[in-house]
Amino acid sequence: MNKFWCLLFLAVPVLGVAAFAWAPGAGYWLPRDISDHGWQIDHLFYFVLTLTGAVFVATELALFWFAWKYDGRTNTQPVRFTHGSHDVEVLWTLAPAATLVFIAIYQMNAWADVKMRQPDVPVLAEVTARQFEWRIRYPGADGRFDTLDDVHVVNDLHVPVDRDILITLKSQDVLHSFFLPNLRIKQDAVPGMKIPVWFRARDVGEFDLVCAELCGWGHYKMKGRLTVQSASAFEQWLAETAAAQEATQEPEVEESE
């Protein structure tokens, strides 16, 4: 094959690796992880990225080298026919098989932590998605939902830091997806279902809460804010919001059901 084309194919692994080397510094990388479980997900990402990156670069270099070395115009050796090698085929079937079995088992724990091992704590808040906002309800002073002192807010989720947070996720109209990139949490909100979501935040601050499932024309602007704060600040905010709601003599947001 033409040397120009060989070099062009060589550019694929070179530019591919370069892009990955450049991206983290330029800000095109994973958002800051502030969750307790997120390191497992990030670790799996880096592990598999390294593994597949190495396989990718190796096969691309092989492709380049074969195309470069066995150029039909310069290579005068006659063509030799091979009909495969049983040993080699067994080897390159078993090696990936073993690796894949390892990955399958290795990642189970992360999955279980995120989706299966629900913490035994009371529900902090109920999040109801609708076109195109997040309606959030706290149980109020009596600690029970569906009572008069429920605290209602829109697009403004507050949670205390360093505590297991359990949220019930609902949808009022179409599918939405509750996405907290900094907490490595994503869960679709399905109408007709109540889905539990849990996490534990390590750092205080303000973070994004976005919709990650096409939910109509306004999907792009379905954004909320997650405020992680100390336990005392959280209690104070909740009390202030409840008082403000009480002062207006009617819920800040009317229940539409």
Partner: protein, 454 residues
């Protein structure tokens, strides 16, 4: 290589054009039963839609590159009321229809319809397809789909804007999306016709490949292209009925307000929805039960072509032909039990998610055998090619090992792709790796006859 019943289209046109009566012209070029003519009909129809889909993508790209800026010429024609800007409603329609057109009107019919029809009889030594009339119908049943989809752009509310996956309740409930009136119904109907066409085609391909091979052409001597087409036909025949049934259910939900996919107590735009008792996840299961195998429908024929073209121009037999055949059979079998990996975050039972994770990891194995092994080794042969038709193949290999299949992708996808914000990266990688096979197919038209003769 030749078909005795009908002359080659070009030769025929040159020789008989002046005296050809209309009826004969129609029988030869329009309602033709010749597999080569039907293949060309599929090819040019899909290339036409390829342009439409590409233009839709360009508009998406315009919005991404210059958010909220007016489009130069098209904007003035289409949305002068909005200051030439693409509105959010129009934008959702753009990417929905881009995906719909590219998947259902381009990739699937160009690989199965165009290349399948043209190549299968030639490469297995048959006179024509097993059912020529059915073959003709499989092309003409595409036309209602073409027409319905075209009309849907011009109905009030515009074409479908519920995503190419058409997830209910967004796609089903009126008022949830701007185009959720006639546009979405036309979308469903068009896909039903596409399904019927693919069904006719796949029955034909399977019968032809099993029954009409020339003497001596055993299954394990078939070119990889034909193996790809064969497995594609099997996948279509067994997965498509599920999608067609689901489309009918969505159609009933939309028109006579059944509640297959609509749960109790839905409130859209502050109005209650009457139907209820259904489950939105049911659609996702049915849809992906087809659309996951459809991923292989979109790629196996192209993989087969790449295998044949590389081995032809490297002047070597395919390295590990049988393992490759077994691996695509494995992909086809496992392809039916991995659909849930499109639904990890959908709210289905996490234990089920764990099961799909394992099956998805399993399917990486045949994909890896297929990709990382056979082709580069085959390339190790003397590569004499300076012909342009061979170039797309290594480039396809490059892009496919970057993006879609096999070892490099599966594990990454299975656990956490949905948890970390790479979904747009994933979508564009998928498109980038879907494009080269089509480009490869298109670019190697000239190379193919030589390849099959070699």
């Amino acid at each position: 290589m030749s078909s005795p019943a009908v002359p080659h289209p070009h030769a025929g046109a040159a020789a008989a054009a002046p005296a050809m009566p209309v009826a004969k012209f129609l029988a030869t070029y329009v309602f033709s039963r010749d597999h080569k003519v039907i293949g060309l009909q599929f090819l040019f129809s899909t290339l036409l839609w390829f342009i439409v889909g590409g233009l839709l993508a360009l508009a998406v790209r315009w919005q991404l590159a210059f958010p909220w800026q007016g489009m130069p010429i098209v904007g003035r024609l289409l949305f002068s009321a909005e200051g030439n800007q693409i509105s959010p409603e129009f934008y959702t329609m753009l990417f929905t229809m881009h995906a719909t057109v590219m998947i259902f009107f381009v990739i699937i019919p160009i690989l199965a319809g165009a290349f399948g029809n043209f190549l299968i009889p030639l490469m297995i030594g048959a006179d024509d397809m097993a059912f020529p009339t059915l073959n003709m119908l499989s092309y003409w049943v595409m036309w209602p789909a073409f027409v319905l989809m075209t009309i849907s752009f011009f109905v009030p509310g515009g074409a479908s804007a519920a995503g190419w996956t058409g997830y209910p309740p967004l796609s089903v409930t009126h008022g949830a999306a701007p185009a959720s009136h006639a546009g979405q119904t036309l979308w469903v109907l068009a896909l039903v016709f596409v399904g019927i066409s693919s069904m006719m085609g796949s029955v034909n391909y399977m019968t032809t490949i099993i029954q009409m091979r020339a003497p001596g052409m055993t299954m394990f001597r078939l070119p990889m292209t034909i193996w790809g087409m064969f497995i594609t036909a099997v996948l279509q025949a067994f997965a498509l009925p599920v999608l067609t049934a689901a489309l009918f259910m969505q159609l009933l939900d939309r028109t006579v307000r059944t509640g297959f996919f609509i749960p109790e107590g839905l409130v859209i735009n502050n109005e209650g929805v009457a139907a209820g008792g259904g489950q939105p996840l049911l659609w996702q299961h049915l849809f992906w039960f087809y659309s996951h195998p459809a991923v292989y429908i979109m790629i196996l024929p192209a993989m087969g072509m790449v295998s044949d073209i590389i081995s032809c121009f490297a002047r070597k037999p395919l390295f590990g032909y049988k393992p490759m055949v077994y691996s695509i059979c494995g992909i086809a079998g496992l392809g039916f039990i991995v659909w849930g990996h499109h639904m990890f975050m959908s709210g289905m039972n996490p234990a089920l998610g764990a099961m799909f994770m394992v099956s998805t990891i399993m399917i990486a194995l045949p994909s890896a055998v297929r990709h990382s092994t056979g082709w580069p080794r085959c390339g190790a042969a003397r590569s004499s090619s300076r012909r342009p038709c061979c170039l797309p193949c290594p480039s396809y290999r490059c892009s496919s090992s970057v993006g879609c299949p096999g070892f490099s992708w599966r594990p990454r996808r299975s656990t956490f792709s949905s948890t970390i914000p790479i979904s747009s990266w994933r979508t564009s990688t998928m498109c980038c790796s879907a494009a080269p096979p089509s480009a490869c197919s298109a670019a190697s038209i000239s190379g193919f006859p030589r390849c099959s003769a070699a």
